[in-house]
Symmetry: C2
Subunit: 180 residues, 2 copies
């Protein structure tokens, strides 16, 4: 027979779970899978650092999944490893500074994409310019000029995007829009 307090505890766990499920679902935008999101949420509400076995128990999933999940969350800077002397098992806790950790995730992902795109655009531009020198057919020249315009437009866009990313990277965004 469960006591009154146990009943509250159960409903509390249920409420937490519901919240965790929701944020986990929406973490796809940060490039975090659903289950890794639940993993993060579980650690967020844990009052102590957790071991892989703790997580495995809490989520009812294999320890191996926890291991790979933690690695992904660490890479994203959303989780950090902590040490306690006398404890053999690895201990992890969530990085609770969402402003820092989530903007860094955002910056890393978008910076990489922008860099790739810029490189590809510059390479295409060089090629197009060479072709333009060689071309004689008026129609081909016309096509090439239009294509060059597109590439130049893209390059400008990426420059702008870089500026946006920089605002987040440097922390200027927090001056523009102060955290509460």
């Amino acid at each position: 027979m469960e006591t009154e307090q146990q009943h509250i505890q159960n409903r509390l766990d249920e409420a937490k779970n519901q919240f965790i499920s929701t944020i986990a679902q929406n973490m796809g935008l940060y490039g975090v899978s659903d289950t890794n999101g639940r993993l993060y949420g579980t650690m967020l509400f844990a009052d102590r650092p957790m071991t892989l076995d703790d997580m495995s128990e809490a989520l009812g999933m294999s320890k191996m999944s926890m291991s790979t999940g933690i690695r992904a969350l660490m890479d994203a800077g959303m989780v950090e490893r902590v040490w306690e002397k006398g404890v053999r098992k690895d201990l992890y806790q969530s990085n609770d500074d969402w402003y820092q950790s989530f903007t860094s995730v955002f910056v890393n992902r978008w910076r990489e994409a922008s860099d790739n795109n810029q490189k590809a655009a510059r390479r295409a531009k060089e090629d197009f310019e060479v072709f333009l020198e060689e071309a004689e057919d008026p129609y081909l020249i016309d096509v090439l000029q239009h294509d060059l315009e597109k590439i130049n437009y893209a390059l400008n866009y990426y420059e702008w995007l870089d500026e946006v990313i920089r605002i987040f990277e440097s922390g200027e965004i927090f001056a523009m829009i102060p955290p509460k």
Copy 2:
């Protein structure tokens, strides 16, 4: 035997393809799949609006895939349908205003995520507060207070995030960081 001009044309197509492949790969950040990204890229460089059959031919994929792909790109506002009288087939062209289309994609996705999270957080907060009233066990009370702190922190974060999204939604971002 291919002429000089044809040879240029071939190399041009190759260069375009390489560029398209790169941006398509990085379009995952916008929630656009790789092949839909290629579809967009193909239309971007097309000098005329394209039919589903054109696309199917260009990408070497089934017309059905083009149909569903186009629908996704339309929903994202990255592609628009155009009419030409006397033409039976549906015609589509890329929306070339990247500042508009891509920021709107960004806003929609993040706004939805933020809304969901906020709803879940508010629901959790209400629950936690009820539990706090009912709780008597000091340890449980302590846990609840910490949990409430987390939820309040989350709510503040979502408010901040909403502000960030609003900057993009309203176009204020273009005053802060002007397009080139």
